[in-house]
Symmetry: C2
Subunit: 360 residues, 2 copies
């Protein structure tokens, strides 16, 4: 199949409190070198660079424009545009804004929508899946990437593949979406072969996607269009107009579009993918030592197993602990059982109420 | 009983690695406000102040003279002398040096030997016990304070009381010393009523004690005398001569004297005492909240019970943990189960081998 130009749209608006205390308001997860030396954003952009890709469109929060720009300069990638959200409105308005911007200059533009804070271990499989998705999108389908489950994850959304789509290798109609199933259900999905994890990565024909979205969420498309028209461009960035954008409903692209349209397709693939949605997920994804520990930074352990031990400064001395997460920054120490590490948001909420923004 | 002048001898030479990372080479346990606002040293000196007490003699390590002097100035107590040990030689040489110094000016001097790093909760009981011990020492006995056990502690030494000593209320001959019994034995001791914890606090007639010690450890007494004679006095401090003091055997006063002499007596008492020998002991001794946690400093906890959570700087956020110790200084985070917290010495040894004195 002949490669075709795809416009990467990098969604960089997340706040990522589930990796607190490393992920902070000013430095959310996607901007951190959470695994190795490269930030998740940089890795996402790198994976969407090369001859088949147009320069990326980045959608991000006002507070992170400077950091995003700095990171892109660091990896030598000039964005086609940085679209700045004045407020967070979930994924549908962000994607609609990028689609609107792309379709204005090229009505046939294909967009590759990528969250900026995911890990993909198998980049060859990713390239193959992107090619297949682009082919399906070129044929008019609204395509999502599914990941073949490797664990009965209860924190993810699942997609059930339906009939294969004729003439489009690897693409299936979508039969059903299920959000966060219980463990028994997730175990059935794992063995059935019909189900994929919902990754939040898509390939869309931009104009077609907008038209379809307008059928279900006309107000959203209208307000986003107004936010672009009334927005202010300077340098390579486009600041969306605050009042119009705030008037768009805050809704995910799955809920707004994918669960409703007849044009939805899925490309299931084994990408060795993770949304890095918790310290436990990061432990799963990382290389572990002979004690099944993941150790980052200045750490000494004794008779400690199955743990994620990470320091950004102080020495962590861990003794006699099993399956815990300990993360120490210069100003915060988090300690929790690994399987409850996703509950750190409780601390984030308490600190927000307590008026301690320096720790958020 | 008429109160009599007692010379407190404060043993301040300990290194206290069992409360690492708070207790450090430069700031050992006794110099820290480990419980409340007063250091253990300051509390010890305060308890040995007042009309019945002469000014204290403090025996400490060269490295801590400045800090000890500063703390004594802070509480407005001028020592009779600060005896500086060039090397640590356990308690017998330290006590012998103080006895020698005291006996030189007053052959009838009674010395009250006090470790500087213990907690005493019941100060009235302590005063009563001190009076009884002084009376027995005046009659020629070498007196140790026993503490009536409240737990089957396996980390302590135990003393078995023998016959009551006639005419000396509360004083008993010593029948047996047992160091660190197993749990079954400790449980028997707890219920028998004959056994006390060995506290390492003593009242001695100084000259008599030296004479008796010289019977069992003549070289020790000779070398300590030489270390004083060859030592250098300046201001209120007396630096013991290094070579002579180093030639004294490194041995505890129990081993050198108390387990051998026929003049040993014990005063059992309920002092609400702790040697604060581990984080677990400190948890036992401290006030606990409704979740049985001891919380010191900037700490947030969720569903955490039975734990000792102490920060000297960073926020500790503890979630879903039971019976752990977490201690965070600016440069170290310790995490361990409470009942294994005494094993922190493993880290101290590793850091010493690794050449990281800044963390010791």
């Amino acid at each position: 199949m002949k490669p075709m130009a795809l416009h990467p749209v990098i969604l960089c608006g997340g706040s990522g409190t589930r990796l607190w205390p490393l992920s902070r308001d000013a430095h959310p997860k996607q901007l951190l070198a959470i695994l190795g030396h490269e930030s998740l954003l940089a890795a996402t952009i790198r994976r969407a660079s090369g001859s088949v890709f147009a320069p990326p469109v980045v959608v991000c929060n006002e507070a992170h424009v400077a950091a995003v720009t700095r990171q892109m300069q660091g990896i030598g990638v000039a964005p086609a545009a940085v679209i700045v959200e004045p407020t967070a409105r979930n994924t549908a308005p962000a994607i609609a804004a990028a689609a609107h911007w792309l379709a204005a200059s090229d009505p046939k533009a294909l967009m590759l929508v990528l969250p900026s804070d995911h890990l993909i271990g198998d980049e060859a499989a990713y390239r193959t899946a992107v090619d297949a998705a682009a082919a399906a999108a070129k044929a008019g389908w609204l395509v999502t990437f599914g990941v073949t489950p490797t664990l009965p994850e209860t924190g993810y959304g699942y997609i059930r593949s339906g009939e294969p789509i004729e003439g489009l290798e690897g693409a299936y109609r979508i039969e059903q979406f299920v959000e966060k199933p219980d463990l028994g259900t997730a175990e059935r999905y794992l063995t059935s072969g019909d189900w994929s994890w919902n990754t939040g990565m898509f390939v869309f024909p931009a104009a077609r996607m907008l038209a379809e979205l307008a059928r279900f969420e006309p107000e959203l498309v209208t307000q986003v269009a107004a936010a672009i028209e009334q927005g202010s461009a300077s340098g390579g960035s486009l600041a969306l107009a605050g009042p119009a954008f705030a008037a768009a409903p805050s809704i995910s692209i799955d809920r707004a579009l994918m669960e409703r349209t007849q044009a939805a397709a899925v490309i299931p693939a084994s990408l060795n993918w993770s949304d890095v949605g918790s310290w436990a997920a990061l432990w799963e994804t990382s290389d572990r030592d002979e004690n099944a520990n993941v150790v980052v930074g200045d750490v000494m352990s004794e008779q400690t197993t199955g743990s994620y031990l990470r320091s950004e400064g102080p020495l962590i001395a861990a003794l006699g602990l099993q399956d815990v997460v300990i993360v120490a920054t210069g100003d915060i120490v988090l300690a929790a059982p690994r399987d409850r590490a996703q509950e750190v948001k409780a601390f984030v909420e308490r600190l927000r109420k307590a008026g301690r923004p320096d720790l958020l």
